[in-house]
């Protein structure tokens, strides 16, 4: 089985989607001729043609609005927003139009757009190339929010997203675009929008998604050396949320640490914590702990201090065990 990084996995998914369905269109800034600033769409225009894979003007509202027009017409547009930090000009289109088309039309106008966008920090990009905006979209009814954690999940989840008749915000953890490598099947396959147990453990559950999953694995190794066995849940699908997988783990271990890069206040971790408190309270041996970015814009020089890393996760797990 080939080993791919996330970029290759995304490229493979798009290639499959374009090849399998004439209604799939891929577009965005520098997506066509250049192949994408991260090379995610490399080679696709040459292979599938300018009609199917094309460049757009630098206008996120236009990219998303165009995608909406195509989706309600019955096509499957897969626009790219080059950095999630720049998605906000399209926010009105996403929240007021894309998310509500199905609901306001009583199902007459499904709007199956899949917006791909790199997110997260750790690439020395500062606050306009490092943001994690998933909470805004998770909070908007009618949007699905998907976050792969590695090449295998990236390809499978993206193919599911493209064929999903609902709008999907597909956030790609750019810090590990190349660093994360995994065996990825050559052929097309889909993964469900559900959480997965990344590692089994006994004493504490780490709930996370995206690049932070890799920090969690490192933390779990450190914990194991200290006789603490951590279970890791990869959320993958923020909306729809597979809360049962998370809750089953919490009932088993009684201790939870939620990890995300995005800022702490009203981050998605708060939702997970609330659900755990609602549905697994009587299994908790310690308070729910969140390890997150800080309530600051994403810093440039001190970005490694900002990011939740293995040591912070380790320490948080320790406090739940020592409670």
């Amino acid at each position: 089985m080939p080993v791919m990084n996330i970029i290759q996995a995304v490229n493979s998914a798009l290639d499959h989607a374009l090849g399998a369905d004439e209604d799939v269109f891929v577009f965005g800034e520098d997506v066509g001729r250049f192949g994408g600033v991260f090379r995610a769409t490399d080679g696709l225009q040459a292979k599938h043609g300018e009609n199917r894979v094309f460049d757009t003007p630098l206008s996120e509202a236009g990219i998303v609005g165009t995608a909406i027009g195509m989706a309600i017409y019955g096509l499957k547009p897969v626009p790219e927003i080059q950095f999630s930090d720049f998605i906000y000009p399209a926010f009105d289109q996403i929240v007021n139009e894309m998310a509500k088309f199905r609901y306001r039309s009583g199902g007459q106008y499904p709007c199956g757009v899949t917006i791909r966008t790199p997110f997260g920090g750790g690439i020395r990009g500062g606050h306009y190339h490092s943001q994690s905006p998933e909470a805004y979209f998770a909070h908007t009814a009618g949007l699905k929010v998907i976050v792969p954690s590695d090449p295998y999940t990236a390809k499978g989840l993206l193919l599911t997203a493209i064929n999903d008749p609902d709008p999907v915000i597909f956030l790609e953890p750019k810090r590990i675009y190349r660093a994360a490598r995994a065996e990825v099947p050559d052929e097309a396959y889909t993964l469900p929008f559900a959480a997965a147990v990344d590692r089994e453990g006994e004493h504490v559950t780490i709930v996370t998604y995206g690049a932070a999953l890799h920090e969690a694995r490192e933390a779990a190794d450190l914990l194991a050396k200290n006789d603490i066995s951590a279970e890791i849940i990869d959320v993958r699908s923020l909306v729809p949320l597979d809360d049962e997988t998370i809750l089953a783990s919490v009932r088993k271990t009684g201790r939870v640490v939620v990890v995300h890069e995005a800022a702490r206040t009203c981050g998605y971790g708060a939702e997970i914590a609330a659900i755990i408190a609602e549905k697994a309270l009587m299994h908790l041996e310690a308070p729910i702990v969140r390890v997150t970015g800080y309530d600051t814009p994403f810093p440039y020089t001190l970005e490694q201090q900002y990011l939740p890393d293995a040591l912070k996760i380790f320490e948080a797990c320790e406090t739940t065990v020592d409670f």
Partner: protein, 431 residues
Amino acid sequence: MAFEFKLPDIGEGVVEGEIVSWKVALGDDVAEDQPLVEVMTDKATVEIPSPRAGKVTALNGAEGDVVEVGAVLVVLEEEGGAQAPKAAPKAEAKEAPAPEAAAAPAAAPTPAPKAAPAVKHTAPTARKPGDKVLATPATRRVSRELGIELSDVPGTGPSGRITKADVIAFSEGRRSPVASGGGTGMPFTHTPVPPGSGEEHRVKVRGLRRKISEAMTRSSMSIPHFSYVDEVDMTELVTMRKRVNQSLVARGDSKVSYLPFIMKACWIAFDDHPEVNALYDATTEEVVYKHYFNCGLATDTPAGLYVSVIRDVPNKSIVQLGQDIRDVTGRVRAGKATREDLSDGTFTITSIGNIGGLFATPIINYPEVAILGVNKIEQRPVVRNGEVVVRYMTNLSPSFDHRVVDGANAARWVNRVKELLENPGLLMATL
């Protein structure tokens, strides 16, 4: 009223001490805890504080005299008539091991599996009436499932928090038969004494006394104890130790007591019976085998009964152990014990017979699995090769947790200990 202060038993089979120096003179007014005398025993020179306030009316013995444990050292005339005795000097038989001081929050060095650092040795913290019951949601669920009122359960967690283990132990305690004289939360009823038949007075059980009481109750209620007794011929060890101590003293070192030898013998015997050096985790129903040996020593202190912990017995020499025993119990008695001095024990030894008695049935230091009672060494007639001879004999009276240790294995372990003590050369050779 005259109070007789007797030379207290400081454990470890000490039977006598030498008066090194008096700290008070006849006629002095002494305060509670004021140092009275410096006494040298086999193992240490200790400063002994006064348990009461009063005026010194008698000093029994001159500097240099050897006094027996239990002999009256000082007589004090107390002020103001009968006072409620505070932490009375432990002249009573000390057949029970003491819990560790609650002052040291004994977090496990590494968290144990599943119930994480649940295996703590902290004594239950006194909770005052009206205090909020502290318990995590998971513990509350367990108590609900077991039908237990949390406010009835003593808590051993931080700030007196009730842990899941506490709830389960309490639940098991309620299900086991009531020990004689033991309380299980049932109301205290008695026939009031008719007026004129005699006096009584009540003393509130609080502080360390209360902690001890709770620990004893918890241990005896949750652990199915069985006792075992055997006699050991200590003659060769007595001889050997005397010679060893002569050499040590000549080199300027301190003497060693019998305890280091006994500890080493126990350790070697654990080899064949590791279940004796273990803890029992009731919440997960696991026996936690310890691959190291920190030996608890029941220590009588002015404040009360503590368990001093001598760490890492296997890797220290007899002389080193002797030194450690002096150091640790010294700190414990002085109220200067560190966390390490009072925690992480895996097996406990208690000296019982200094005052008297042949053997006893000590109560295990929860959640350990066994405790060894060491009794007095004295000369007794025994039969050897058909002849009656006089040998230095002692009784070993361990108690075991019958969930973990079977009678046969207990006997075999004791046999091994006995074999090593009766033949100290073998003990040395097996170290």
